[in-house]
Symmetry: C2
Subunit: 146 residues, 2 copies
């Protein structure tokens, strides 16, 4: 009988601690979702997270995937990337950086913040404080078959 639950933090450094340090109670489902998000440097739509998570035997419901991603985003564990009106992407990389978005393929790629400099920000509207800066370079064209 090997249908036991694998130790949550074996192949990935302390995912549970990562959640706790962001004020998130590490439940089984949240750990599964976090492991998907942080196992690769990739961007995921909620649907892709759901698919990846549910490749294993233990399943997580759609509601929980959405709720969890929203929770992670609110608590700064992941970053929401809004580039496509039809779905939100979640980026496990919360460092300052920017994005390429291929409007033909739907592919989203990181741009290191050092590769693109922005001048100082203009004066913000009265009564507001900065909450983040998003730079999206939209590109077109199929990536080579490779």
């Amino acid at each position: 009988m090997d249908n036991h639950i694998e130790p949550a933090t074996t192949h990935n450094p302390d995912v549970a601690g990562m959640l706790r340090s962001h004020g998130i109670l590490p439940t089984q489902q949240r750990l599964m979702i976090a492991r998907v998000l942080f196992s690769k440097h990739q961007h995921y739509s909620a649907d892709q997270v759901m698919t990846s998570v549910n490749e294993g035997r233990d399943r997580v419901s759609k509601a929980t995937v959405y709720n969890t991603l929203g929770l992670f985003a609110r608590n700064g564990l992941v970053r929401e990337v809004i580039v496509d009106p039809t779905r939100v992407f979640y980026d496990p990389n919360t460092d300052n950086h920017h994005h390429f978005y291929n409007v033909d393929t739907g592919e989203l790629m990181d741009i290191d913040s050092s590769a693109l400099q922005i001048s100082e920000l203009p004066e913000l509207p009265e009564g507001t404080v900065a909450a983040g800066v998003d730079v999206i370079i939209r590109v077109r064209g199929e990536s080579p078959a490779s």
Copy 2:
């Protein structure tokens, strides 16, 4: 009897010609929508366009509003601004410029391109060409009651 149709181009310089020059046949509904878009320097969601257009006596259906805004965007008459997963904004200003987005109020404001400089673009992914650059500065805070 004064329920005649006002000359389409009276208070706004040649809206019809503007449509034609973008390859768009100027129908009555398209003119009404274009007049709303270009009468003020504002950003509109589809719903706001619909409301504004239908303040007058002549009504335009929801389907036509959506279809028309999509058409205008495809033909470069307006710019789609993707900042909020729940709705698309349409910007009558197609010049190079950027945006503030107030995540508390949903307000969208222009940033003149001269107010924010970007370094040269990083190398694009292989096989792709640039299709546009969006810079969004997200801010937080109610604007003063004023």
